[in-house]
Symmetry: C2
DNA sequence: CGCCCGCCGATTGCATACACTGGAGCCCGT
DNA sequence: ACGGGCTCCAGTGTATGCAATCGGCGGGCG
């Protein structure tokens, strides 16, 4: 793999998992030494992270890991709502109904005690949406949102009750898509996002780490 | 200004105006020589353009200016509809009503024979939407869409009749926002985008350059 | 005569050296 | 003692050299 991509993948993971917490200063020399690449590929990785919105320029010469607070999360969910409700509509019109019927039944059978399995199924659902929408611009916008969402999920931590409710909501969305009902798919997505956001903000209020 | 930024700005402009038509091969050495910068900042510019979606990797070693066809335009408008209808909703709820009242009156008085003035006013309207939405994630997504839209507008060329209809549509959107009517703002935006897309696709059918 | 293999050139990826700039800290003057 | 300006330096921005790789082309072999 290319050095620049390794550096990007490593930094991305470290930022998403919180190993590099918000505010961490990312000096080019320091990070290139640490990751064992030269400054050239490291700079490229930093620029990609900046365009992703995961790092920010604290001043002209210092780059830091971007912070994310409750207002950011609300903003992110505004965008997410715009994208995902419309994506659900498009999927209901264009998608392969059989794929979503199968996903609906997987959500019905999902063991939500297994957080990893749950997130894996949600990831497959997201992929199915991407395939159904079949729109590279849309998928790029969704990918960006999901990149940020990884950090938000981590901040809100694992919540078994929410995961179980989320599975039911996903099931309904998948059924609406497989049934070819765009408005139900869109509104069920809206409801799902509302519930997700509420839970996350509550979790942050209790534990504003 | 930094060399990398000059290179990016120059290439962006040349791609948007069509000076570098789709399919043009962008060799690093060739372009860096032409623009009078070294390969390092030029590479950075190319990577930014790639993440913008304006250049693509034709193969592992050759980068070309990305093409854009009717299907791409439909895809772009799918995304645009998702973003702008919701942005209009948010603006109607959060925006400064006075700003949009003023914009509505400017659209009413606009001389649509002056294409540059028309596009300038539309740009100010877009800025006002950004300010009203006050959401950096949303604005970033909108900026990306608008970057592509510059090329689309150019492909569809100047059309006085459409510009005049567009001004009326913008006026209605601005009035809906200033009147605090989110659904009217969203639906008027939907109508506007539908008309814009239809006109563009017709223009392309007549003259598929 | 056609196909496959190996060589060569072109081009990118990476590393490193040099240039420049912004800022912190210190010294001097008041 | 405090403020201003100067100096030095840390760190980024840019240029260039080197290495690796891919594709094309020609020659040899079947």
């Amino acid at each position: 793999m290319r050095a620049s991509e390794r550096a990007y993948a490593t930094l991305l993971d470290e930022i998403q998992t919180g190993a590099l917490p918000p505010g961490t200063v990312l000096g080019e020399v320091e990070q290139s030494t640490r990751l064992g690449v030269s400054r050239t590929p490291l700079r490229e990785a930093l620029r990609r992270l900046a365009s992703d919105g995961l790092v920010a320029q604290a001043s002209a010469r210092v780059t830091v890991v971007a912070g994310i607070d409750a207002d950011d999360i609300r903003s992110l969910f505004d965008l997410r709502r715009a994208l995902e409700t419309e994506a659900a509509r498009l999927a209901a019109r264009r998608g392969d109904h059989e794929v979503f019927r199968a996903l609906a039944s997987e959500f019905a059978d999902l063991d939500t005690a297994d957080a990893d399995a749950s997130y894996a199924l949600i990831a497959r659902f997201d992929s199915a949406i991407d395939d159904a929408v079949a729109n590279t611009y849309f998928s790029a916008a969704l990918r960006s949102v999901r990149t940020h969402l990884v950090r938000v999920r981590r901040m809100a931590r694992y919540n078994p009750l929410r995961l179980s409710a989320s599975a039911r909501e996903h099931r309904l969305i998948a059924e609406a898509i497989s049934g070819g009902d765009p408005e139900l798919a869109a509104h069920a997505t809206h409801v799902h996002l509302h519930n997700a956001l509420t839970t996350i903000l509550e979790a942050l209020t209790e534990d504003p780490s």
